[in-house]
């Protein structure tokens, strides 16, 4: 048997380990960067209890993320682990950390605009469904939407009119 870590130390180490559990569809982000982890607590029965908030209703990665959280924490010797999903309050892209936003930009994905949780009236206009994000490649604000839906449930497809490059935009939701 390995030396049991003190309870608070075990939870603290778990937080660190969760930094290495990637989102399978945007592997540059960890579940912590995404703001999916609500809490990590040690239960009275010795189980490490991780509470996650799922991102999009139909995100096919949710179950895979649940599994990899358990496997990664187990592999780090922090098990047994139990994961529960908490839907309320609903996840918002505002929970993506500043570090996560920087990583997204470096990866070539424009991070979501802030204040997405505010309800705005629907304005019917051609083209863009949200304010134009800056190009993650050259930084230009001269960008346009190609499609409101992109390669995964969380992204829209945009292009930069300055450098000509297409890029993904993380939908603010």
């Amino acid at each position: 048997m390995t030396t049991a870590a003190a309870p608070t130390e075990r939870a603290a180490r778990a937080w660190e380990v969760l930094d290495s559990v990637p989102d399978p569809e945007v592997p540059v982000l960890s579940v912590r960067d995404l703001g999916m982890v609500r809490s990590v607590e040690l239960s009275s029965d010795g189980t490490l209890h991780v509470v996650l908030t799922p991102t999009y209703s139909g995100c096919p990665a949710t179950e895979m993320i649940e599994r990899s959280v358990i496997e990664t924490l187990d592999a780090a010797g922090l098990g047994p682990v139990r994961v529960t999903l908490r839907r309320a309050p609903a996840w918002t892209t505002d929970w993506i950390s500043d570090d996560g936003r920087r990583k997204l930009r470096e990866y070539g994905i424009a991070p979501p605009a802030h204040a997405a949780s505010k309800t705005v009236p629907i304005r019917i206009i051609r083209g863009a469904l949200s304010p134009a994000p800056a190009c993650p490649h050259c930084g230009s604000a001269h960008t346009e939407q190609i499609s409101a839906f992109g390669s995964t449930a969380c992204k829209a497809l945009w292009r930069c009119r300055a450098c000509g490059e297409p890029f993904d935009y993380f939908k603010p939701i």
Partner: protein, 257 residues
């Protein structure tokens, strides 16, 4: 061959099945566009919307399966019911039609779901309220997407306008069913589970008018026709759609990817 399940007639269960089945059946029809949309971006968009709707259906069907003394999971409810136990409005089961029909239906359904999810955030059932909190944002996104296409097609070429007008004429009569009050709606209101769909008629008409105005299209006239999918009495298209949707789970019970 997997046997059918018989669902509870409890009004709360029925209310949730109406909502969950609307999402499920609409998603099934949208999924048929995979590989067939006019441009790749829309192929991706329609299947992305379907994915959101499947996620919403899962949340609501899971809850419906726990109420009324039942213990069914979302897969049993999705795949093992008989046709008359599906309670989606007829609108969503109609064949997908051309891209104009799909655009008009997407708008009609997204505007309805956005209003429903908004109200359901205050549901007395905390599970339903939690699903609604996420779904309302997705429905808003779908609504804007569909309205944008309505404007492009309505204010586009003579051919796109002809098609969008034909789609409106085809689908509009099915909107009347959405807002017919009945005992299931009354029970949901009484228990604070959710609003009566009938209460959403005026804001829904206002949302449709906004989009139609922007597209330079007129409001279709109301007709006397009344469909009855929400009562479980479906069009001739429903059975064919369910046969395709249920085939794998009926033939290979519990089959998974």
């Amino acid at each position: 061959m997997q046997d059918s399940i018989k669902v509870s007639t409890d009004p709360s269960v029925r209310y949730l099945l109406r909502l969950g089945d609307t999402c499920l059946v609409h998603a099934q029809r949208l999924g048929e566009w995979c590989g067939h949309a006019p441009i790749i971006e829309e192929d991706i968009a329609l299947t992305n919307i379907a994915l959101d709707l499947i996620g919403q259906a899962r949340g609501i069907l899971t809850r419906a399966g726990q109420l009324g003394g039942q213990q069914f999971d979302e897969d049993q409810l999705a795949f093992l019911r008989e046709e008359r136990d599906y309670l989606n409005p007829t609108l969503v089961e109609l064949p997908r039609g051309d891209f104009a029909v799909t655009t008009v239906r997407n708008l009609m359904v997204a505007a309805l779901l956005e209003l429903l999810w908004t109200r359901l955030q205050a549901s007395s059932d905390t599970e339903v309220a939690a699903v609604a909190g996420k779904a309302v944002k997705e429905a808003r996104y779908h609504h804007r997407h569909a309205a944008d296409w309505l404007v492009r097609l309505g204010d586009g070429t003579a051919e796109s306008r002809r098609r969008i007008e034909a789609a409106l004429d085809r689908l509009w009569p099915y909107s009347r069913e959405l807002f017919q009050p009945d005992a299931i709606d009354d029970a949901a209101l009484a228990s604070d589970l959710g609003p009566r769909w009938a209460e959403l008629r005026d804001p829904w008409l206002a949302a449709m008018r906004d989009a139609l105005d922007a597209a330079g299209l007129g409001m279709p006239a109301e007709t006397a026709f009344l469909s009855s999918g929400r009562m479980g009495i479906h069009s001739e298209h429903m059975g064919h759609m369910l046969a395709e949707m249920q085939y794998l789970q009926r033939s290979y019970p519990g089959g998974a990817w």
